[in-house]
């Protein structure tokens, strides 16, 4: 019998264990190859206008993937090795030389890796087409996707996985040298001691998590980085202690309530959970942290994508707007816009604007790069504002008199402060003039130009100031189907010079679409991978446990526990293991969203996408739950 045939027989005999390891390797290759081939895809490069900046984002994401794939393969390798330690020990006991065993394990892992890469690349080719189409769809691109195998992508994948597989193969080779024979035989019993629950650690977990949540809402230091690391440390350490001590502590406390504990299968369910928790603390921590990161990432990405139109409309409220320079140009531009029959004009306005310097030190917001004492401030007459509101379908009939004014929130003002009641002073050549805000608008009216301070004043004040400072006029158009005005927008850009402050809705919209589209695709892709990984990790873990619990459930069956009762307690236990990290993950995610992205969770436009992301996540996660219960039930209830 040659070494090779022993190896082959090994694989045949241990097929199930091998399959799980093999599948997770294939999964990793498929994910990585798919992603890398997107990066090298010509179709995608063609349809993204600012490809160069996007490339670096892709590269960053692929580094994250490498990290993830490495961890995932190492995890499943460790899982696989643990199951086989006894077998390796047996070979050694039977007198096979260590060197031979090492060689056998090395080749076995290497061959499996090679096959996994081959299959992974083939599957990945199919998947990459699918993902390319998805990405192009998100970018609203019309380019057709062809089948192709990217040589660079294959090479990239080969290099990355050769390193990983070589590493795991060497590890497999060292296995026989690393452990004593006796340790190999007791491998299955590792981590099976009954978990102890220390009150200190249990309280510590609550304190740590509560503390880091508290910091999120009450910053203790100006330095963002320190603040963030404090929060992250608190959350990670707190979560670990939560799973390691707090939960065990609570389960133990629940045992004290005998009338509950000694009812039906509660006794079995509770002890099983306690028994298992210690070995699972690290996995569960990892899963809840992964879940929260995934949820955050997708929420942010989807939030951006969901709000593209709103964002673009705020950037450029009109379909086209520019500062009128002379009548010839105005006429030409007007011609271009009118010629575009697919996008008929719904409204056209001449918007007269005055720009003066103002002292806005009474406001909380100071535009970046300006001193609050003197900021260029643009004035619009209230009658003009009402016309604008009408064209833009905003219901507003504003009346201002004397020194009353209305503020429009600047684009970059994230203070959420209310300007009403505050005053600003306009610096005119003859005298300074103070106006007082009586009203505040959140929606902007003209294309963005820094510092973006627009103030609506009464008609009389406007005419007064117009006598001292000459107004200039914006030509503003609102057309139908403004999302697709690509040709007109390009013609206008060609016609009009730079200082006309030309702003078209189309340009803003595509820019937003492109960056958010890529964002959501990358974040979604990574999120999906993480989700699949967390699901698979729990799945493998539970299955593994089901195998070792087989005997226990058989005993119960013999005592007279029905299959249904076994299934019920199994579902409950599995639900506990699934639900706990999910709930913790969602909780963390909500806080992280608030902490890092300053998301105002009460805002409806943000609530909806985040809620949708969480719902989707929970549904897929539940799918894993059902699958896990089904598989475990098949194992213990044969």
């Amino acid at each position: 019998m040659t070494l090779f045939s022993v190896t082959r027989k090994n694989i045949q005999g241990n097929f199930k264990n091998y399959l799980i390891y093999f599948l997770s390797m294939i999964f990793s290759v498929v994910i990585y190859y798919t992603f890398v081939s997107l990066q090298y895809s010509e179709e995608i490069q063609k349809s993204i206008q600012s490809w160069e900046t996007m490339r670096s984002i892709f590269v960053q994401a692929s580094i994250m993937l490498i990290l993830f794939v490495t961890v995932f393969i190492l995890y499943s390798n460790a899982f696989f090795t643990k199951k086989r330690k006894k077998e390796v020990g047996l070979y050694s006991l039977l007198g096979v030389r260590k060197k031979t065993i090492g060689k056998m394990l090395f080749y076995e892992n290497l061959i499996m890796g090679a096959i996994a890469v081959l299959i992974g690349v083939l599957l990945g080719t199919l998947l990459s087409k699918l993902f390319t189409m998805m990405l192009l769809k998100l970018l609203s691109s019309t380019i057709n996707v062809s089948f192709s195998i990217s040589f660079e992508a294959v090479l990239n994948t080969l290099i990355v996985f050769s390193i990983i597989i070589l590493f795991t193969s060497i590890q497999a080779n060292r296995l026989i040298y690393r452990f004593k024979l006796i340790e190999l035989f007791h491998a299955e019993q590792e981590g099976e001691q009954v978990a102890k629950a220390s009150v200190g650690a249990a309280a510590g977990s609550i304190i740590l998590i509560a503390f880091s949540y508290w910091i999120v809402f009450h910053p203790i230091t100006e330095q963002q980085l320190v603040q963030l690391s404090l929060v992250l440390f608190g959350i990670v350490a707190g979560t670990y202690l939560l799973f390691r001590s707090l939960i065990v502590y609570l389960l133990r406390a629940s045992q004290k309530n005998k009338s509950r504990y000694y009812r039906g299968m509660n006794l079995i369910g509770t002890t099983q959970l306690i028994y298992r928790f210690k070995g699972n603390a690290r996995t569960l921590t990892m899963i809840s942290l992964l879940s929260s990161v995934t949820l955050c990432a997708i929420s942010v990405g989807y939030g951006g994508y969901y709000n593209i139109e709103k964002t673009a409309r705020n950037w450029s409220p009109f379909s086209y707007s520019y500062i009128s320079k002379n009548e010839v140009f105005d006429h030409q531009a007007d011609q271009i816009i009118l010629e575009d029959k697919e996008h008929p004009v719904q409204g056209k306005l001449d918007i007269s604007v005055i720009q003066v310097n103002g002292d806005i030190s009474d406001l909380e917001y100071v535009p970046y790069g300006y001193a609050a004492k003197s900021v260029p401030t643009r004035l619009i007459a209230v009658s003009t504002y009402n016309q604008i509101a009408k064209v833009l379908n905003r219901e507003e009939n504003l009346r201002l008199s004397g020194n009353e004014a209305a503020a429009i929130r600047p684009w970059q003002d994230n203070t959420f402060s209310d300007y009403v009641g505050h005053t600003i002073t306009l610096k005119l050549s003859e005298e300074n003039h103070s106006i007082k805000f009586v009203k505040m608008f959140e929606e902007r009216v003209l294309g963005w130009v820094s510092p973006d301070i627009y103030v609506v004043v009464s008609d009389r004040l406007y005419t007064d100031i117009a006598k001292q400072v000459k107004p200039f006029v914006y030509q503003a158009y609102k057309v139908k189907n403004e999302k697709s005005t690509i040709e007109t927008a390009k013609k206008l850009e060609k016609l009009l010079a730079k200082d006309t402050e030309l702003s078209t809705f189309y340009t803003m919209y595509t820019k937003e679409l492109e960056s958010s589209g890529i964002d959501i695709f990358l974040l979604g892709f990574l999120g999906l991978v993480f989700l699949a990984a967390t699901g698979s990790i729990i799945y493998f873990k539970q299955l593994n446990e089901a195998y070792s619990d087989q005997e226990r459930y058989q005993i119960l069956r013999k005592i007279g526990v029905s299959k249904r009762e076994v299934l019920t307690t199994l579902s409950k236990q599995t639900l506990f293991v699934f639900l706990l990290p999910l709930v913790v993950g969602i909780l963390h995610c909500t806080i992280i969203l608030k902490a890092i992205f300053g998301v105002n969770l009460a805002e409806k436009t943000i609530m909806i996408p985040i809620f949708m992301v969480m719902a989707a996540y929970v549904i897929i996660y539940l799918g894993y739950y059902v699958l896990t219960v089904k598989s475990s039930n098949n194992i213990v209830n044969k």
């Binding site: 009954v194 005998k258 009338s259 000694y262 009812r263 039906g264 299968m265 509660n266 006794l267 079995i268 002890t271 099983q272 306690i274 028994y275 226990r552 005993i555 119960l556 013999k558 005592i559 007279g560 526990v561 029905s562 299959k563 249904r564 009762e565």
Partner: protein, 256 residues
Amino acid sequence: MSILTVDHLEKIYEGKVAHKALDNINFSVEKGEFVGVMGPSGSGKTTLLNLIATIDRPTAGEILINGKNPHVLNRKETALFRRHELGFVFQHFNLLDTLTVEENIVLPLTLDGESIKEMDKKLQYVTKKLGIDSILKKRTYEISGGQMQRTAIARSIIHKPSLILADEPTGNLDSKASKDVMETITAINKEDQATVLMVTHDPFAASYCHRVIFIKDGQLYNEIYRGENRQAFFQKIMDMLALLGGDNRDLSTVRL
């Protein structure tokens, strides 16, 4: 009144070559009786026990336990029947290592949702009787084999089943522990009128029974009664086993 009646029992294992494991078995066990079943390997002892334990179904014939035929019940009722009417003692103890001794013993009661007070009362009674009341809080891996088997016996009798089925209860124990366990079973049999059916290889264990049924090749071979002297009974069992033939390996070494 007979607790267990086995009537023309037959079990055929289907397969490429059908195998008749049990053929026309008839016997009955009265209330308060302690009956042993012996026979060489492959004689059908375990099949018989599995059929009585409702783990397997007979091909023909019927089994009545306490006047009821468990094989006509549906699956859920079968589980309930097993839980209420039968108590099991196994060779490998079959205790749950995740539970303490106490939890293992009260397990059948918790499944039926008995009140805590009642549970405590029964637990006290049973554990005192079996001499394991001092180890209730220990885990199964912290106690000896004999203690484990006594825990298993406590579990099998705590819900007062009609019939206790023991499958090689001494198979995993040394001679001292075997003796303890057999004396325990005898005690509960005598004092609580528990009915016991025990399958065993061990002539020493069998010598504690009131009567021993011998099976060979799936058929009833013989039946011997104990009388007054256990020593003489043991010798009779040994003689019968020699007569039965079979493999010598099946017989454990003499220890008395």
